[in-house]
């Protein structure tokens, strides 16, 4: 008997089932299809400006910084200002995201490079798939448009998120993922990011910038 078969046999023996019971199969299939929601905290169930304000409060509580701009066209200047304010070099790495590409980078003196990170990039910008107001969390999906390495290797990570993509709860983001990738399918990686990297492993002292970004800066694009 293979390890696989023996493990299944062991589980079924312990549970007192044989695995072919129609009712059990029906229950499992039904749950996988319906994906019931469970308890959704009331906190995030707000809309419009109130939801954006909650997102901002929660993201800041996770030690991210948040700024708002009125249109995608204002993003490059906003990033240039952020880098200047922190005395950071005017360099920026990004993927092929069409929303980022369409922005007027020429209006700044930023030196832009494209593609995943090999570990030598100080600053990177990614476009979020969405945000979650409940905890100030950003949802990122992998791909050449926003390579996952940009979320982790640079010291300073800037995430652009459209205000309209900020949802009340995680479940709303999963609905959008299903709509974009198909029910039961996922991109290689979905990253939920809530604040900059940190560790409390030395004497329970909170220190930022453990292995991932030391700074997380979020730009919410209204419009």
């Amino acid at each position: 008997m293979s390890a696989r078969d023996e493990i299944f046999a062991g589980i079924r023996r312990s549970l007192g089932v044989n695995g072919s019971e129609t009712i059990r199969r029906q229950i499992v299939q039904d749950r996988l299809e319906r994906a019931p929601k469970g308890v959704i905290p009331a906190r995030g169930q707000v809309s419009g400006d109130e939801r954006i304000a909650l997102f901002k409060t929660m993201a800041e509580a996770s030690l991210a910084t948040v700024t708002e701009v009125n249109s995608p066209g204002e993003v490059p200047q906003s990033i240039a200002l952020f880098l200047r304010n922190h005395n950071l070099p005017a360099t920026l790495r990004m993927g092929d995201d069409p929303r980022l590409k369409a922005m007027p980078w020429g209006e700044t003196t930023l030196e832009i490079s494209h593609g995943p990170s090999q570990g030598g990039d100080l600053n990177a910008v990614s476009h979020a798939f969405g945000g979650v107001a409940e905890t100030g969390t950003l949802a990122m999906v992998s791909g050449h448009e926003n390579p996952s390495t940009l979320n982790f290797l640079p010291d300073n990570h800037i995430i652009v998120v459209s205000a309209k993509d900020i949802a009340s709860d995680y479940e709303s983001v999963w609905n959008r993922v299903r709509f974009s990738f198909g029910k039961g399918s996922m991109p290689r990686t979905v990253n939920w990011i809530t604040g900059p990297s940190r560790s409390g492993d030395i004497e329970q002292t909170l220190l930022l910038g453990a292995h991932g970004p030391r700074r997380l800066h979020v730009i919410v694009v209204r419009e």
Partner: protein, 477 residues
């Protein structure tokens, strides 16, 4: 396989821990930090208790249908281009992992924090076969340098102070100036970051654990604050996920419920910094990510816990809240428990996994105060399960002779109520009289274990039963 454990020596371990001043200083951080933060996070979310019920129900439902959810999960992983391997025990798991590493031509392997990897002692096995495992979680990295086991399931180096870490870094990181300043924790972090960054970029294989597996999509999930798990899994060509079979949940909605209680119970955060959902290898057109994705599903004793009173332990999501709130853990730390899992959850799980003969006495290290159960996010009745082990230990005659004869003596009196009342009244009257001056005893016959460390308060001279009788007579009069 040989399990490396000092669980049978718990009493000696505990005695040593109580006299270890460095350890006692470090344990102060556990008492101060975790409890208040968890409480604050729970207070901020009115639905927290309802979410705990929801989390418990999801895990119960999954365990009752575990065979079917495993089938669905396996199918989804395969469909997304990944490979699923099944391992009955630690030996099989190690063999599978070594084979994958050899196929990948691996020289070094980076590792995210994973308790199951400690359970199967994969580092020892890889090293014995010429492959260098590098722990990347800061705490795990530190204890790897010291050749120690984690002393806490989410804060592996919680038993250490910064000065000890400094000594280890100076001993191992010879590439840096010997006169460098490492007096601040942030300097230690910065140094570890620089050293490990090179390791991340050089690794051939990345091994992570999984906090959860999702049947609906064939997804494995890791939760970290450092981002080390992510660098471990996206940079090398091959990503290996190690997971025990009870990590499964049905859907993305279900895992979202569990994630709402995990970080709050563990560190008191609203949400951990990085929650990563991985499904298969990199896709056509992806610019990064692993080319190979393997999941090793490990049983190692779980399937035989199903259908027994210990099935409830399989709900555990490894948040560490039970040990953070445990007065025994606060006193002796994690290493005294002698194996991978310390604290109340370890006292219940360890005898199941390595045998009641080796670890059956761990459940005795409990005051039965019930705090562990009161904070468990999936409501595992830990005190009840510890009592089950105590009963089994007694039934199997594993308890020491002095305990057995003591309990036998008590049983003799307890079954003869009038004799019991007479004897206890006589004893309490004597003790009450003898202790009336000081109100406490610094020495008592047969109670050296207690009086060696603290005074024994003198009784008032009356038994509880006698007082109860008196009060009731007064009320009915």
């Amino acid at each position: 396989m040989t399990v490396h454990t000092t669980s049978p020596q718990f009493k000696q371990n505990a005695a040593r821990a109580l006299h270890d001043s460095q350890l006692q200083k470090a344990l102060g951080n556990v008492k101060q930090g975790f409890i208040d933060k968890r409480q604050a996070a729970a207070d901020k979310l009115p639905e927290f208790e309802a979410l705990r019920d929801s989390a418990r129900d999801i895990k119960n439902h999954t365990l009752e249908h575990l065979d079917l959810y495993l089938e669905a999960y396996e199918q989804k992983v395969t469909a997304s281009g990944g490979h699923v391997h099944f391992a009955r025990n630690a030996d099989e798991a190690r063999r599978i992992i070594l084979d994958i590493c050899r196929d990948a031509g691996a020289k070094t392997v980076t590792k995210g924090k994973s308790m199951i990897s400690e359970e199967i002692e994969i580092n020892r096995h890889l090293e014995a076969n010429g492959i260098k495992p590098v722990e990347t979680d800061l705490g795990e990295y530190i204890i790897q340098l010291r050749n120690e086991l984690p002393s806490h399931i989410i804060a592996p180096a919680v038993h250490l102070n910064a000065t000890q870490v400094e000594q280890d870094f100076r001993r191992v990181h010879k590439q840096f100036d010997a006169k460098r300043d490492l007096s601040e924790p942030v300097q230690l972090l910065t140094e570890a970051r620089a050293v490990l960054r090179e390791r991340f970029l050089a690794a051939d294989v990345g091994i992570t654990g999984a906090n959860f597996l999702v049947a609906e999509t064939g997804t494995s999930i890791i939760v970290t604050n450092e981002g080390n798990g992510d660098l471990t899994q996206i940079l090398p060509k091959t990503h290996i996920v190690l997971a025990s079979i009870e990590k499964l949940v049905p859907t993305l909605e279900d895992v979202s419920q569990l994630l709402r209680v995990l970080a709050r119970s563990a560190t008191g955060q609203e949400m951990s910094v990085y929650t990563t959902f991985s499904t298969g290898p990199r896709r056509a057109g992806d610019a990064d990510g692993p080319e190979n994705y393997h999941v090793v599903l490990i049983d190692n004793g779980r399937s035989s816990m199903l259908g027994t009173s210990f099935e409830e332990m399989l709900r555990c999501i490894r948040c560490g809240a039970c040990m953070n709130h445990c007065p025994v853990y606060h006193a002796v730390g994690g290493h005294a428990y002698g194996w991978v899992y310390p604290g109340p959850m370890g006292a219940v799980l360890t005898p199941s996994l390595i045998g009641v003969d080796k670890a059956g006495h761990l459940p005795n290290a409990s005051t039965f105060c019930g705090r562990c159960e009161s904070v468990c996010p999936v409501r595992i009745p830990l005190p009840k399960l510890m009592r089950h082990w105590r009963e089994r230990e007694f039934e199997r005659h594993l308890a020491p002779a002095s305990v057995r004869s003591g309990l036998g003596l008590w049983g003799f009196f307890a079954r003869r109520p009038s004799l019991y009342r007479f004897a206890t009244r006589a004893a309490m009257a004597t003790l009450g009289f003898a202790g009336r001056q000081r109100g406490r005893f610094s020495w008592l016959p047969l109670a050296k274990g207690w009086t060696k460390h603290r005074d024994f308060p003198a009784p008032q001279g009356e038994t509880f039963q006698a007082r109860w009788q008196r009060e009731r007579n007064r009320r009915t009069a």
